[in-house]
Symmetry: C2
Subunit: 370 residues, 2 copies
Amino acid sequence: MQNKKSHPSALNEKAGIAPPETTSLTSIGTIQHFRKIQPSATALVEGILAGNITALSRAITLVESTNNNHLSKANEVINACLPHSGKSMRIGITGVPGVGKSTFIEAFGKFLTNQGKKVAVLAVDPSSTISHGSILGDKTRMEELVKDKNAYIRPSASGETLGGVARKTRETITLCEACGFDTIIIETVGVGQSETAVHSMVDFFLLLKIAGAGDELQGIKRGIMEMADAIVINKADGDNIKKAQFAKMEFNRALHLFPAKKSGWIPKTSTCSAITQEGIPVVWEIIQKFLALTKENQSFFEKRKEQNQYWMLETINEQLKINFYNQHEIQNLLEPTKKAVQNNEISPFAAAQKLLNLYQNSKNNQQNMD
Amino acid sequence: MQNKKSHPSALNEKAGIAPPETTSLTSIGTIQHFRKIQPSATALVEGILAGNITALSRAITLVESTNNNHLSKANEVINACLPHSGKSMRIGITGVPGVGKSTFIEAFGKFLTNQGKKVAVLAVDPSSTISHGSILGDKTRMEELVKDKNAYIRPSASGETLGGVARKTRETITLCEACGFDTIIIETVGVGQSETAVHSMVDFFLLLKIAGAGDELQGIKRGIMEMADAIVINKADGDNIKKAQFAKMEFNRALHLFPAKKSGWIPKTSTCSAITQEGIPVVWEIIQKFLALTKENQSFFEKRKEQNQYWMLETINEQLKINFYNQHEIQNLLEPTKKAVQNNEISPFAAAQKLLNLYQNSKNNQQNMD
């Protein structure tokens, strides 16, 4: 509340400028009033469980907040939602820019809502802090889906670290599931480590590709193909159909080079067109087959347990590093020490030991001063 | 020295049993006397720089010691050797058991010493703590090389963590280089994460394979093929030659599926026989070409700098984790918390936060008690 004055409401900012005559002053009052209410954790949970999208959005905003006061309230909401979560199918979708992720998700999402599904579309894109939302930022790219009342689209959380963005997305999944969404699609761009993060929070991982000029297999990012449960070649329409089918064959052969998956699932390839809708139902059939197999042999549930544990350990390991590298003296000495190590002036291990001792000692001093 | 009495010398243990008449008592005295001397760091460094193998072996033992008193002396030796290190070619060799790593290294090592090279053979095998040295443990498997005065073979350091074993091996490289070895071969078995560790300490990474029954490309461990600078198909002799050549072709095709290396090097494939020696010189030619290219475009030196930095950061990150997970209260609570997280009773992030707070608080308490 203290910040209220320095961040005035956008509505108040225009004081002195008469609102257009068509604007209802009562409506403004209602909106202003509603914005001021800080619903309790209990109220948010009740709203979410009742399928209220406004409550869901507010809870997600709470999860995404960097304000420390919001953290405990966010945790309260999430822990209350946890018993009602986990019942959805979580699908990760990746592909380099230009492959048509947005149009594919729009077509695929509409197909699912037509089948009576409730679809939430989230994104993991740590780069969006800089680019201000390069994916899903522009909701108009999914103009059909965004109007669908059985679909909920939420842009990527912003954040400086992938770990932070991933945490927020993962908690958002819990909230969406508790809110009744049975299909969660998580989009990511094919850069950096974000695929690994998304792969670790979904049941099924889909790699979207387009047929290139014969170089289908070139330049595939390290490890991405190995993570895929399916490779779908998009834009298989018009003159492109033949090329897409050839690419499908090539990928199919390449997929056999990788070790078998623990789940027993053999990755599939298919072609589709987000424009003609051709091949979209096939993608869903593939996912159904995957579900049937992995639920039958229990690997579906095992993987989710492992993922939960993975995220706990990842969070711990990341936080330990953040504490270390953000420490004042380490920040001052890290770069010169790196240089010395690069130039063989000190062994990497002696240098590490030196920095670790420094960290320990300055923490002790900090302690004694407290 | 304090431990001397509880660990009597093996020579003394047989007191009461008359030594065979052929044993010279003077020799026993010399050996006993020599074993008791603890050479100073300066003496060890002098010995190493003079090419003295005994000094080298003793310094490596110091590096491998888990006795904390030895640590500072080991660091002193390493830091003094650093300016004299770095001039060798470091070659990593991996392959699953049965592929003939020992016979290949023996043949390749003999080829190199015949060319006037001084060859050190080390190993990274964290599992050897359990198996008591599954690789290089039995030096008789390289019976020619072990007798060669221009070769030095040292089994894998033992240790509970890969990080620990890797650190010791990496420091051993420094010592061997300062001792005048110009070619360092580091062997590892194709299991676990040890290839990644070895890949991060060598200039050239060689994957050894044998031709299988048509399934050359099956079951290749995640990421190993992507790390290889060359794939050598061993046992290309007798009836096997055709199969080996087919395998070579298959691997060559598969290698093209991977993204180009930063160094500009295109990985090569070749066949060889450790028994007939056929193809052994070709392997060395490939390495020479690699050296010429990467030294010309500087990537050789860039990579070494990156590796130095990598090992510093790795050591820090690993030690931060060790400090955390070895903490008494964390050890007690980790397993029950993991269970709760797996079963969705608490979110992974809330659980991580709980453990991190606990760690911080109990360290503070520890501090106050000190």
